[in-house]
Symmetry: C2
Subunit: 459 residues, 2 copies
């Protein structure tokens, strides 16, 4: 009963039952047309992990504009072609930001080293660094009330994640609340004359592990250097300040923003045989931050959506509608891949956009912009997802960054929801590496994406 | 019944009972003479954490020979004196090893950065580094069988901790098995002509976190540079080699060994009023590795033994025997503090030596060299430990590093055993910081050490 009933759709009940019984005995013939069998095949082969292993171990970090990002584009294109799936690239202009020296010391406290990393896009300090007093703000309101006291100082946003939300497996909600200081904090502090900004890394676990991520400068305000400290260092400075001690930091950050680079989205598809002009998009992003090897963010998403095409191809399955895999470039620090794709393809009929960019822990379901009858209908068709624990759909306004342009234009959006408990503990840090991923869970994720794509393409 | 019955010892039974009843009504007068009350006082005041906070936040890392180590000696001496406890220093000559640049890249794999840190005492590579093939050895037998293949290469000891032992809370057994590659590995590899050695960090958890620790060069063999990689990096190289790929690393390590420095043990004591010449030693080590702030290794031990004297002093308690607190210098990379103390004090009568150097998780009991009737007798007297979960004694041959010289000379040894589950996950890494410690658990540890010292000093 969990099978795709597409071939029965117009048959009267008695015939459907007969066909159902027939299908039971002729499973070897009918099997490949059902999402259940896609799931089984995917779990049996479990090759997403091998794909991800090559991407992370043999290419490694893939920040937009880097030679590694270019290598990833070549690798993905060649890999699809090796699998017999035609793939093309779509030119995307991307920023080219390069991390430099990162050194911070508490000159007021025996030159203790502070573990931090520049936020993506940060401007540099002078080469010799700056030395200034650290002033803490727990919120933008507090920053505002500090006002002119901020001038000439390093603003420290002490923005802990809400650990209760994390424990309730609402890590992304906790993340969203805390990450605003990373994106908006630098310019807000610049407004009051701050010299630099350091935030507390947005994570719920740390072994002195700083987490980077993009900032957003306000074009009307001076750009000031910004970095994220490890939780331990944020707690240290917070303790010292709370005891009334004066904390002075020497900070050297020498990142550079080089000229834009021509990079690419990688696009591959299996054309539909009934409505090929209708597209179910499945996507992840090929770029990563530069600290780790981007295994959970978002090598695993890339591996899942690549594997979806591979498994369909190997099972010789042709969907009614086209299933198109898009490996976006520059999700992390610009979203230019998603933006470019939308500019180039907005006139095509996208019937759904599935994005996977939340790691590779065991699947729990999907977020979707669908609701009401449309969602109920999909849930009936997608019952195969239950076998990998991914049959839960939650309606939300937003489902993904790269596909947000499509979704805002009215395309039904979906995003895979792996167990979110530890995702932000690794992502954007050097600890985002292959070993954090369980091959079985990644296979379950891949099966969930493949099955949902199949269902959506055959509605 | 858990109280110290010292004052009743020679009284006939009827008198003891009378006195017992009296004690019940005169608790305010008698209370301070019992280990139970020491425990209660310690738990109520919980000030070890404040002591530790100053040591770790305001001084920070304290590697032997560093100015921070010297500052720690001054601070500890002054702190005892502030508490009204006379303290002296005892000169200890210590090595002065200074970490330098640490940079490793896989030149065979797109220059991927390898997260590593030099082992303590390592010699340097040439300033421009070395570039060589990496060869893996899972054991010394495997190294031997590789023989001449090792020549000119970087030997990678892939020495994972036995995770089952860790889960069984036998972390130190797992540690001992794995750490032999850190201490002996460099010289063993040098024997076969290796250029350098990298080990897998000895830890059961990692967020790309390398762990340092001392190596032991064989004076008869060439000294080669040695470092420890994060687990993630060890797993990466292991995967690449297992797939048959050739792995070449560029390695730069520029540590320096400077001339020996005159440092010190800090010694403070409360003299006994009956047998002052008999000493119960309580000790931890004041030095730490240079990466973290030495909160669990061994700032917490220092805080516990300092607090023991403080609480006795504040309660106006005078033991029968002298309780002497020794804050040893150079436990981590030389043991010169323990060696010097023994040389200077071996003719004094030490009746027990309690060492605390295993972190500050909740206490579970003590390891001791005592056994048989002597241990059974102590267990009866030390029942106050049960209230903090520390009443379990396990007989072992070794109880601590700094006090090993005394224990080998026949002094009964004791070491506090906090829950060992995560100790090695932090120690010797940058993540050994104050936030890893629960103030309540540290207070329980302090109470356990104080109560045991009191019992031993009053037997």
């Amino acid at each position: 009963m969990h099978r795709n009933l597409r071939s029965f759709r117009f048959a009267p009940l008695s015939v459907r039952m007969t066909l159902g019984v027939f299908a039971l005995f002729a499973a070897t013939v009918q099997a490949q047309t059902t999402p259940d069998d896609i799931v089984k095949r995917e779990l049996a082969t479990s090759r997403s992990y091998e794909t991800l292993e090559v991407l992370t171990d043999n290419i490694g970090p893939r920040l937009s504009g880097s030679s590694n990002a270019a290598a990833a584009v070549r690798w993905a294109t060649a890999t699809f072609q090796k699998w017999g799936i035609p793939a093309t690239t779509e030119k995307v202009m991307v920023p080219h930001w390069v991390r430099g020296i990162e050194d911070a010391r508490l000159v007021s406290h025996r030159n203790q080293k502070i573990f931090l990393t520049a936020l993506g896009g940060s401007v540099a300090t002078p080469a010799k660094g700056i030395t200034a007093e650290v002033i803490e703000a727990g919120s933008f309101d507090e920053l505002k009330s500090l006002g002119s006291k901020v001038k000439g100082k390093i603003v420290f946003y002490n923005n802990p994640m809400d650990i209760d939300l994390v424990r309730a497996r609402r890590s992304f909600d906790a993340y969203s609340k805390a990450v605003v200081f990373r994106s908006e904090g630098p310019s807000r502090a610049a407004q009051y004359g701050a010299l630099a900004v350091i935030i507390r890394s947005v994570t719920s676990a740390s072994l002195r592990t700083p987490h980077t991520g993009a900032l957003r400068y306000d074009a009307k305000l001076p750009k000031i250097p910004a970095a994220a400290m490890a939780i331990e260092d944020a707690m240290l400075i917070d303790r010292l300040l709370k005891k009334g001690e004066r904390v002075r930091m020497h900070l050297v950050l020498t990142p550079r923003t080089l000229p834009e680079v021509a990079s690419a989205n990688v696009i591959a598809e299996i054309r539909g045989n009934e409505k090929p002009e209708e597209v179910v998009l499945i996507g992840g992003h090929l770029d990563s931050w530069d600290l780790g090897t981007g295994a959970i963010d978002d090598g695993s998403g890339v591996a899942m959506v690549m594997e979806t095409l591979r498994v369909l191809k190997e099972m010789n399955l042709t969907p009614k509608r086209t299933i198109r895999c898009v490996l976006f470039m520059n999700e992390e620090n610009g979203l230019n891949g998603g933006r470019t794709y939308f500019a180039n393809h907005k006139n095509e009929k996208h019937v759904a956009a599935i994005e996977s960019d939340a790691g590779a822990a065991a699947p729990t379901g999907f977020r979707t912009t669908l609701k009401g009858d449309a969602l109920a209908d999909l849930e009936r068709r997608a019952q195969a997802l239950a076998s990998v624990g991914a049959a839960h759909f939650e309606t939300t306004a937003e489902t993904g960054a790269d596909t947000s342009f499509l979704v805002e234009a009215g395309v039904p959006g979906f995003s895979l929801v792996p167990d979110p408990l530890h995702y932000v503990d690794y992502h954007h840090s050097a600890a985002d590496t292959l070993d954090k991923i369980d091959p079985k869970e990644l296979a379950q994720d891949s099966a969930a994406v493949a099955a949902l794509a199949w269902v959506l393409a055959n509605r």
